[in-house]
């Protein structure tokens, strides 16, 4: 609730007070209801005085009139204020409370729904601010929250300013309450005569403002001419002269203006600005004004969502929010429809204002309901449910009522899109909505929907290790709800998907930023892990870009329809071709055996061998200037979807241009180039990897290595005895491998495990480490790697740099899982007591990376 308004206005002098008392008496005589000046805040006195000035045009009273701009200046000054501490925030809030009191006073008896609606918006903004401060001190607010706070202050200022300007312009009482005019001109003390003339000029200005609202050009010109005449009359009057002529003139002009305004379609408040602007009949200015109205609604909507965070399951709130959104949609459509018109359709404008009022009605409902719920005693506070992070298909029959239904997620998604697009119902947002709706449909129709519990949405890594994931369940009052694993059911939109849905890069980035901030403020314990944006039911958004090399495969059903089709189609191609292969070799048991063996080995490959190692190869070595020649042109000619052939020879040409003369002329080099060209042309670096990993491809393994490293002589080619049958010994072992140290099949991590080793080898996992004072990641790695990599000392910096770069490139989730802290986890900031799970570093992968780095260095 608003606080009591501080009395910030200047004290009244005795003479002023007497004047006011006299004026009050006259007003009461005239049966005009005016809040007693003593009841409004001193700060709001200026505004009230402005309103009284309007009355004075009728009553002829001689109240001291502060400059009307002063109050606006105060409001503008308020809008410029930025809280930097809890004290300053509270001070601002106090001023806002005073302004609200002021608005309440000014709007008392004013029937214009638009103005009242705008006041509600101002109150809503005030409530948002108060909510921030309820949460704790300024220091506990995130940067985003602080920015929101200060932005909301500005918005409040603008709203309040708009209301006051509208009040001043409309001269509500002049037009609507002529019947309350006193029969007699009140007595004005002679001593006040010099001031009277000034006040009369002010009245003329008000008359001009009102006249500007008249849309009928001829009527407007006529009124303005009358006002001009009145002005001349006023100028001709001697100081202290009786102003009965002037007052009569005012009365006539007021009446004429009122009739002219009544004759035209009622111009709702939000149109007044547009009407003022569009005196020249510029439609676009009117539409621009309406769009500003819509943007204001958008801001209100976003603030309301924030305010109602945690209560969206409440039927009243969710219903109101949805209605608000519908209002936004309607207004957007109305505005869009105006784009084709020659002039703004008054009916549409009227409808927009009606919708706007409806919007704020719903907004008030939300705020009231949130306040009511907040006031209720909390049932059992928070319950933390533990669920397994594995994918658990929900049982539709027993599926609990979710705190976040797909509709909620839809809403959340929509709201977020609205923030981005600056309008709450544009095509992009609609696309997002469609996507979520599709998700919902699939969920409802599929009995086999996978409930993906993000294992990395776990505050405590230990819990994850024990396959536990917490689910926050808030129990409010008697509305107890039991939520289980589905609480973390989430929709993941990758940045790419967002782009596909129409977002620009800037919008996606902004989305990511907002999401990250929301994660921080909603639950700092949660870790951003997934690619893209995860819309969680609890309104929090988990965002992080997953670097290449992520382990998780997005379930097809989570992909947008077009992607699902693509995936399905490509998989079908693979299946068809494999079936074709099978049919061709069915008559040959030998070939069947051969293919079967190859397939077995392929199937046994870890995920990264199937797809990512080739990628890493490109990522590490073939980016930038390393690739040149004609390849770019060759690849540009390719089109998978278009069915045109890739230019294999183009790729070959490029490779030849890249490789050294020695490699060009060597058989192995040629083979390597061919195979690499296959991969390049094919767009399948993995193919290269598989070729080199497979039995058949083993023969080119060292060729590739030689070619790739550009220094065949520098690469040790193991003898068949030393060569692992299926591994990559020469790429995983740094430096000169020894038979004793070489893992049995070259894949240390898969073959050394379980076998006691007398000393660490390059391929064995690093040891988990508890950080002690003075430790750095570099130092820890140096300690561990020093004992296991031959010739470490000579290449220490390069090796360690490779490791550190690798760590920096890991996903937020992975780093968090390894024990790095911070948001995002920062490998440069480790604290004593941190347990760094260095064993999770893929040593085999690191071996290749280091090898590549060494090779580059040798070149």
């Amino acid at each position: 609730m608003p606080k009591e308004a501080p009395k910030t206005g200047r004290p009244l002098s005795e003479a002023e007070r007497e004047q006011q008392l006299a004026a009050r008496g006259r007003v009461e005589d005239g049966k005009v209801e005016i809040k007693k000046s003593g009841e409004v805040s001193g700060k709001g006195l200026d505004s009230l005085a402005s309103a009284l000035e309007t009355k004075k045009a009728i009553t002829g009273s001689a109240i001291e009139t502060p400059a009307p701009q002063s109050d606006e200046e105060n409001l503008r000054a308020l809008g410029q204020k930025e809280a930097t501490s809890v004290e300053s925030a509270q001070e601002i809030l106090g001023e806002i409370d005073a302004e609200i009191e002021n608005l309440n006073s000014l709007l008392k008896g004013v029937s214009d729904p638009s103005l009242r609606s705008r006041k509600s918006a101002a109150v809503a903004r005030r409530n948002v601010l108060a909510k921030f401060l309820e949460k704790g001190g300024w220091e506990e607010l995130s940067i985003s929250q602080r920015n929101t706070f200060n932005t909301t202050v500005k918005q409040f200022s603008e709203t309040a300013l708009g209301i006051k300007q509208a009040l001043t312009k409309s001269g509500e009482e002049i037009i609507n309450k002529p019947a309350t005019m006193p029969e007699k001109t009140p007595h004005v003390p002679k001593a006040e005569k010099p001031q009277q003339k000034e006040e009369d000029h002010f009245i003329i200005n008000n008359l001009l403002i009102e006249a500007a609202r008249v849309q009928d050009e001829s009527a407007r010109e006529e009124i303005i001419a009358d006002i001009d005449g009145l002005r001349q009359t006023l100028g001709a009057m001697a100081d202290g002269a009786e102003s009965s002529v002037f007052k009569e003139g005012v009365r006539e002009i007021v009446e004429k203006t009122r009739k002219a305004l009544e004759a035209q379609a009622p111009a709702p408040e939000s149109m007044k600005v547009a009407a003022d602007v569009s005196e020249g009949g510029v439609v676009r200015e009117k539409i621009k004004s309406l769009r500003q109205t819509l943007r204001a609604l958008d801001n209100d909507f976003a603030n309301t969502i924030q305010y109602a965070s945690g209560f969206q399951e409440n039927p009243v709130i969710s219903d109101s929010l949805l209605k608000m959104r519908e209002v936004g949609s309607t207004i957007q459509k109305l505005i869009n429809s105006m784009g084709e018109m020659k002039d703004v359709d008054d009916m549409s404008v009227t409808e927009i204002n009606r919708q706007s009022a409806l919007f704020h009605e719903e907004l008030n409902k939300v705020y009231d309901e949130v306040e009511r719920l907040s006031a209720e005693p909390v049932g059992t506070a928070e319950v933390v449910a533990e669920v397994a992070p594995t994918e658990i298909p929900p049982n539709p029959a027993t599926e609990p009522v979710l705190r976040a239904t797909p509709d909620d997620m839809l809403f959340d998604t929509k709201a977020r899109a609205e923030k981005l697009f600056g309008s709450n119902l544009n095509a992009e947002a609609q696309a997002l909505e469609d996507f979520v709706a599709e998700n919902k449909r699939r969920r409802e129709t599929s009995q086999d929907v996978q409930t993906r519990i993000e294992p990395t949405l776990v505050p405590d890594r230990e819990k994850q290790n024990t396959t536990q994931a917490p689910t926050e369940v808030k129990v409010v009052g008697s509305q107890e709800k039991t939520e289980e694993s589905e609480a973390f059911q989430s929709i993941i939109l990758t940045p790419l998907q967002l782009k596909m849905l129409g977002m620009t890069n800037q919008q996606v980035n902004e989305h990511l930023r907002l999401g990250k901030e929301e994660v921080k403020k909603s639950n700092p314990d949660f870790v951003a892990n997934a690619e893209g944006i995860v819309f969680t039911p609890s309104n929090s958004t988990e965002v992080a870009l997953r670097p290449e090399g992520a382990l998780v495969t997005t379930p097809p059903e989570r992909l947008p329809a077009v992607q699902q089709e693509m995936l399905k189609s490509l998989k079908a191609v693979s299946d068809t071709l494999r079936a074709d292969q099978g049919a061709r070799i069915v008559i040959s048991p030998e070939k069947q055996k051969l293919v079967s063996k190859m397939w077995e080995k392929y199937q046994a490959m870890p995920w990264w061998k199937k797809g990512l190692v080739g990628g890493a190869l490109f990522g590490a070595g073939m980016t930038g200037a390393a690739i040149g020649g004609t390849f770019g042109g060759a690849i540009a000619l390719t089109s998978y979807a278009g069915g045109r052939a890739l230019s294999f020879m183009g790729a070959m040409t490029m490779l030849k241009s890249m490789s050294s003369e020695e490699v060009k002329t060597s058989k192995k080099g040629k083979a390597a180039r061919i195979l690499l060209a296959t991969g390049l042309t094919f767009g399948v670096p993995a193919a290269l990897q598989q070729l080199s990993e497979s039995p058949f491809g083993a023969w080119v393994r060292d060729s590739i290595s030689s070619w790739w490293n550009g220094a065949p002589e520098a690469v040790v080619t193991p003898t068949p005895e030393r060569l692992p049958p299926d591994g990559l010994a020469e790429t995983t072992v740094l430096g000169e491998p020894t038979p004793e140290r070489l893992p049995p099949d070259g894949l240390a991590e898969t073959t050394v495990l379980g076998e006691p080793t007398p000393e660490p080898t390059p391929g064995t996992p690093l040891e988990n480490t508890t950080v002690v004072r003075g430790d750095t990641v570099w130092g820890i790695l140096e300690r561990q790697l020093g004992g296991r990599i031959p010739n470490f000392a000579e290449n220490k910096n390069l090796i360690l740099d490779t490791y550190v770069k690798h760590l920096r490139g890991l996903s937020v989730d992975t780093l968090r899982g390894m024990g790095f802290e911070g948001m995002p986890p920062n490998i440069d900031k480790i604290w004593p007591g941190n347990v760094l799970k260095l064993s999770e570093i893929n040593q085999e992968q690191m071996g290749r990376l280091v090898e590549a780095a060494l090779a580059r260095a040798r070149r």
Partner: protein, 101 residues
């Protein structure tokens, strides 16, 4: 001049809209098909009396021996591999185009 990266290639293949892991999955699957095609073509090209030995080398993971054997019996073996790879690629494209139509 374009400097294609993996991303460029994926884009040209028009699978860039898929999540990375799904791209890799597809790439891996089709890569296996190419590999198998090349191996089978090599076996077919070899004289009957050495096919068994070649297959045995492959099954045992004796790459250099397999290479030496193939090179001995197939003229310009690297070019042969390239051609077979291209054929496999064409098959993929034709199959995909047929599906699309």
């Amino acid at each position: 001049m374009n400097l294609p990266t993996r991303e460029d290639i994926v884009r040209e293949l028009n699978i860039g809209s898929l999540p990375l892991e799904n791209q890799n999955e597809i790439i891996g699957d089709l890569g296996h098909f190419i590999l198998t095609e090349v191996v089978l073509a090599t076996v077919d090209k070899l004289p009957a009396d050495v096919q068994g030995a070649f297959s045995a080398f492959i099954e045992e993971g004796k790459g250099p021996e397999a290479e030496a054997l193939a090179s001995e019996h197939i003229p310009d073996f690297p070019t042969f591999v390239a051609q077979e790879s291209a054929k496999a690629l064409t098959k993929i494209k034709e199959t995909y185009a047929a599906q699309a139509s």
